[in-house]
């Protein structure tokens, strides 16, 4: 596909890309540390993935294959539009297949298919500061990161247990990267937290409105915060996926009619489709 006339490759000008790449290099050098960068106005509103798009634009090359997912699916509005944006401005290949992608931009999920070396995950982050909930002052949160004063993150989890009997934080669950910086993993479900630990892929996080970039280099330790007597746990379901029968993937509950009908299906559409193609079936198919 030919690229749009009048735009630089991947929309951003080369100076901006250099600036973002420098921020990315710094972020990779200090895992989990939030690097400020000069976030640009993008042709879509804040909150729609401007941070992730800028990171993707800065690392994208003509030989890359891009996959964009929103809530695990490749065919939702946000994903379709970001993918076509890069098709128009960069003209590189795109895919729905996790295995074929060299760059995967996401907001809510990490694909179920294990990532491999050489792949890059780009997360769109709304609120990069995990301490913001208890400390509104930016100067103070930076100091707390600098001195590794992370007691208040524990206070947040304490509150969960005190009110609900268990750690009820289900997404954006705080993690400690490489034993040092506490980091907000963007709104992925805590189900995906273990996938970040020692991942062979490079993970980059971009927050456009908040103007921060941070990163987890490949094979880096990522621990979810918890208490000794309330250890970190991921979600589990009674059902398997109604379409592909997978019992170990993250399931979405879908209301099918107005009579209380509902089904549970894989949130990762590519993973689900691959399993169906390989002959797996769920109760929906079997019935």
């Amino acid at each position: 596909m030919s690229t749009a006339q009048g735009y630089n490759f991947a929309y951003l000008d080369e100076q901006t890309k250099r600036m973002i790449r420098r921020a990315i290099l710094k972020a990779v050098a200090i895992p989990g540390y939030q690097v400020p960068f000069g976030s640009r106005e993008m042709p879509l509103p804040y909150g729609w993935g401007t941070g992730g798009i800028q990171v993707t634009a800065a690392i994208l090359g003509p030989d890359d294959t891009l996959k964009v997912i929103d809530q695990g699916a490749d065919d939702t509005t946000n994903a379709v539009n970001i993918r076509s944006f890069f098709q128009k401005t960069a003209g590189m290949a795109t895919t729905d297949r996790t295995r074929e992608a060299s760059i995967i931009q996401t907001r809510h999920r990490i694909p179920e298919t294990p990532l491999v070396e050489g792949q890059i995950m780009v997360y769109q982050v709304p609120i990069p500061e995990p301490l913001r909930w208890l400390e509104p002052r930016e100067g103070e949160t930076r100091k707390m990161h600098g001195l590794a004063e992370y007691g208040v993150m524990q206070v947040k989890l304490y509150e969960d247990i005190a009110h609900y009997g268990h750690i009820s934080t289900a997404y954006d669950y705080p993690v400690r990267v490489n034993g040092r910086y506490v980091m907000s993993p963007s709104p992925i479900p805590k189900f995906d937290n273990p996938k970040m630990d020692n991942s062979p892929a490079l993970q980059l996080f971009g927050a456009g409105r908040e103007k921060r970039i941070y990163a987890i280099p490949p094979y880096t330790r990522v621990e979810s915060l918890d208490f000794e007597d309330h250890p970190f746990q991921i979600e589990s379901w009674d059902q398997a996926c109604a379409i592909c029968g997978s019992a170990d993937s993250y399931l979405d509950e879908i209301v099918t009619d107005d009579k209380g009908g509902r089904m549970f299906v894989c949130s990762d559409t590519d993973y689900c489709g691959e399993r169906v193609a390989a002959g797996h079936t769920g109760e929906e198919q079997a019935a």
Partner: protein, 256 residues
């Protein structure tokens, strides 16, 4: 006995204005020092300097660190000083809202310092929090309630529990009883006195209420216009004031 706190020639200027000037005193473990004076006399400035919330313009504040003896607190690195402030020291603010996290429960408020120094066992933190709520006479049934639902006196007691949970050796209190009605004040004073006596905590209390210092303080400093005008044992200063300003202050107490 070793000095716990040694203050020499402490001054704080706000531009050309004087906050406090030439303050010097020693504080020993378990001792309660009262600082009195009218509004604007520099009491709170002095307390904020002493408790490392405000950097003094001149002078030295040395604290008896558990590991290294008397050390100038401004020669410590910032992490060391912040660690000192939330472990070996306590700071009780005049307004409980300044000292509490209003958006988390009472239990989390008490447990925060424990978690800050590395406690990671929910059950133990909670037991400790319940224990301290009992000590400051707050019903343990309110442990999961927000401090905003507490009365003024309860908030002040919660603030005290939150500070004492790490067993500090020195607590700074800025007008801990102002804004409370008389009977609640009396109960709070009684509580502070009992806790300070039982735990052997040294205390610096700033107040404009002479009744408070008579009840709590062993020694008294009277401040006026940023300077200490009289310094001595509490009963001595209150019963036989030497400085004209102290005489005025003592005679201004309304007889009941």
């Amino acid at each position: 006995m070793n000095k716990l706190l040694q203050v020499t020639d402490l001054s704080k200027n706000y531009g050309s204005r004087i906050g406090c000037e030439g303050v010097a005193f020693d504080l020993y473990p378990g001792e309660v020092l009262g600082i009195v004076g009218e509004s604007g006399s520099g009491k709170t400035t002095l307390l904020r300097c002493l408790s490392a919330q405000l950097e003094p313009s001149a002078g030295r504040i040395a604290y008896d660190m558990r590991t290294q003896g008397l050390t100038d607190i401004w020669s410590l690195s910032e992490p060391e000083r912040r660690m000192l402030m939330r472990t070996d020291w306590g700071i009780v603010h005049q307004n409980a809202r300044d000292g509490l996290r209003m958006e988390v429960s009472a239990g989390a408020n008490v447990g925060e310092r424990l978690m800050a120094v590395g406690a990671r066992h929910y059950g133990n933190i909670r037991t400790e929090a319940e224990d301290w709520l009992t000590k400051v006479e707050i019903d343990t049934g309110r442990i999961d309630d927000l401090p905003a639902t507490f009365s003024g006196g309860m908030q002040q007691r919660l603030q005290i529990a939150r500070n004492l949970v790490t067993q500090p050796r020195l607590v700074f209190m800025d007008e801990p009883t102002s804004g409370l009605d008389v009977s609640v004040q009396a109960r709070l004073l009684d509580l502070i006195r009992t806790l300070v006596n039982r735990l052997g905590i040294a205390c610096v209390i700033v107040t404009h209420d002479l009744g408070v210092v008579r009840l709590l303080a062993h020694r008294l400093m009277v401040m006026r216009r940023g300077r200490v005008v009289e310094h001595g044992l509490t009963d001595q200063v209150l019963d036989d004031p030497q400085h004209p300003y102290t005489q005025l202050l003592v005679s201004s107490i309304l007889p009941v």
